[in-house]
């Protein structure tokens, strides 16, 4: 394993921002895994740390095919993470909206360019990421439909779901989109949590990456298990919105199968706890996304369901 500085930015009063890469193997650039790009993606940081631990062990035991190299970048915006802030501390910009970056541009454009320069030539790119609405997800691989996407290969992760998303204009500056434009096969891995660590979901995510790498011949140690993956197009999911605002009381968990008519959640009046709205499954299906904050606004998608 070689630990190297991918990009360094000097600061006036803070320690330099060092974006670290952990490289395993010395062969052709084959797979790059990028962890936390936002300052609250703690689960994504931890998942990378566990992968680095595992790859160190695999390297010692000779389980990494020497013709390939693996690069893991566990954290990019730890300037934000160290002060509990999701985006870039000084100007609140999102590094994941700055790709492919620009080395003579503004600070986060330079960071994006510095990172992208180091990772754009990998054959496979996996980004561990999170959604802008705080909530829990069923673990899945998300792929942007750019015309260059490779959905079949994504099944090799063995996760229960692949979600295919039609990119919106603002998606075109994400790492995932630009990786694809540079002809890498790019996958975004969503696990259950973001700000907190869910060990079970971390294990599932880590095993899915090890499984994918084994199937691609990068690792020689197999990772048994995995699911017959179901492909979901984002528009096939239904959003269940509340109209009222108040305290959210949930009765289901992500990945739970529910029957039509099941009571999924209630909105309680925030002064007297009376039930002011009930959210009921309109069809049978699987809970894919759950709003988790205890307070909920009106007109908010509290649950996303994959209908059976």
């Amino acid at each position: 394993m070689e630990k190297k500085v991918i990009y360094e930015l000097k600061s006036l009063y803070r320690d330099s921002l060092r974006i670290m890469g952990y490289q395993f193997g010395e062969g052709k650039p084959t797979i790059c895994i990028v962890g936390s790009m936002r300052g609250n993606e703690v689960q994504q940081l931890y998942l990378c740390a566990r992968l680095i631990q595992k790859f160190t062990e695999y390297e010692e035991k000779g389980y990494i095919d020497p013709q390939y190299s693996i690069l893991v970048i566990p954290s990019i915006n730890h300037y934000g993470m160290n002060i509990n802030h999701r985006f870039w501390p000084q100007d609140d910009t999102d590094i994941n909206r700055m790709f492919p970056g620009y080395n003579e541009g503004e600070t986060t454009q330079r960071i994006a360019e510095g990172v992208f320069h180091a990772i754009k030539d990998f054959a496979y790119g996996i980004q561990l990421t999170s959604f802008y609405i705080p909530g829990e997800f069923a673990s899945h691989i998300r792929i942007m439909k750019t015309g260059l996407e490779d959905i079949e290969t994504a099944k090799l992760f063995g996760l229960p779901y692949i979600v295919v998303r039609n990119p919106r204009p603002y998606d075109t500056t994400t790492l995932n989109y630009n990786w694809q434009i540079w002809e890498a096969k790019a996958y975004s891995l969503y696990t259950k949590e973001t700000d907190v660590i869910d060990e079970k979901s971390v294990n599932e995510g880590m095993n899915s990456i090890l499984r994918f790498m084994y199937h691609q011949g990068i690792l020689t140690k197999s990772m048994p298990g995995g699911y017959m993956t179901e492909i979901i197009y984002e528009e096939q999911m239904i959003s269940l919105k509340c109209q009222k605002a108040g305290i959210l009381k949930r009765f289901v968990d992500v990945e739970e199968h529910v029957k039509k008519g099941t009571l999924l959640a209630q909105i309680l009046d925030s002064y007297d706890a009376s039930v002011i709205e009930e959210i009921v499954a309109p069809m049978s299906g699987i809970i894919f996304f759950l709003h988790v904050k205890p307070l909920v606004y009106g007109r908010t998608a509290v649950i996303k369901m994959k209908v059976e």
Partner: protein, 305 residues
């Protein structure tokens, strides 16, 4: 008449409302919309919304509808937050919105529905807390043919026709123009502050434009002729070092090639880290207001003349 454009409930005993003030006189259905406050830290438009109403009260020649939307992001404005609090989302990246989407997306959808069909929408921005801008209108190349003639009536110093960017497709202005509702983006001043002279300049431009739209019939102030330029004439000055930026020239000044714009210093060591010089002869139309810079922070923009 004060009307609600959209509303939703907040968790604890509060209604989320976006309001507009409709001023309607005469028989014409021509409509101009003055929109501001998408970013909660931009306040220059507040003065324009107030002062324009003062000016209109003194006139009796209005024939049409003036809709004033002073705050599209009231939660952000109230909390000195550029973005929409709770979602930590830039509201000007979610248009045209989605009636079935999250709260912010469905609010964005309602705003578009309310504005579309207007004869002109003027979306007033105030840069951010880092940079000061001269009064200018920014137009996407794709929409320039239709918008430049309108923008020339607005009494701004500069019309910047910038290249198309996919990110900008998520803005209010792009979305409305895409729906054939002419929309001009004004940038002027600096975040969290009001520059009254810029406000008055823009109000003169609004009155002139309303006369061009035949919404006013009596005399309006004369307006200046703006410089119109494309991207290739604009030079960006970015900080080479992290430090404290001290300007050595004034905003909105003509600068010569290699003249000093400012210096970056280190207050800890007492060193001068860099002198920032102009790469060309031109107009310094953007200048850094917030003194601390990271490597790469924008210090200024110069329009080469």
């Amino acid at each position: 008449m004060i009307e609600n454009v959209t509303e939703a409930m907040l968790p604890v005993d509060e209604k989320y409302e976006i309001k507009k003030h409709r001023i309607q006189k005469g028989t014409s259905q021509k409509r101009i919309c003055i929109v501001t406050g998408t970013h909660g830290d931009e306040l220059e438009g507040q003065y324009v919304c107030y002062q324009l109403q003062e000016v209109l009260k003194e006139r009796d020649d209005l024939n049409g509808i003036v809709d004033i939307y002073p705050s599209l992001n009231p939660l952000g404005m109230d909390s000195m937050n550029r973005k929409v609090p709770f979602f930590d989302l830039d509201m000007n990246r979610v248009f045209p919105g989605d009636s079935n989407g999250s709260l912010v997306e469905s609010v964005a959808y309602d705003i578009i529905q309310d504005l579309k069909g207007a004869d002109l929408v003027v979306d007033i921005h105030a840069s951010n807390v880092y940079l000061r801008e001269i009064p200018q209108i920014r137009i996407n190349t794709l929409q320039s043919e239709k918008l430049i003639p309108l923008a020339k009536h607005m009494n701004v110093d500069y019309i910047w026709v910038h290249s198309a960017s996919t990110v900008l497709e998520s803005t209010l202005a792009y979305s409305l123009n895409d729906l054939d509702t002419p929309t001009l983006v004004v940038e002027m001043g600096v975040g969290l502050r009001i520059t009254e002279s810029y406000g008055h300049q823009l109000i003169d431009g609004l009155l002139n434009t309303m006369k061009e739209l035949e919404m006013l019939s009596m005399e309006v102030p004369e307006v200046r002729i703006p410089i119109v330029s494309l991207d290739q004439n604009v030079h960006f000055l970015n900080a080479k070092y992290a430090g404290l930026f001290l300007p050595m020239t004034s905003h909105q000044h003509m600068v010569d090639k290699e003249s000093l714009i400012g210096k970056i210093v280190n207050p800890l060591t007492g060193e001068i880290l860099d002198y920032v010089c102009s790469p060309c002869h031109g107009l310094l139309f953007t200048l850094r207001e917030y003194p601390l810079v990271n490597e790469g922070s924008l210090i200024g923009r110069i329009l080469e003349l």
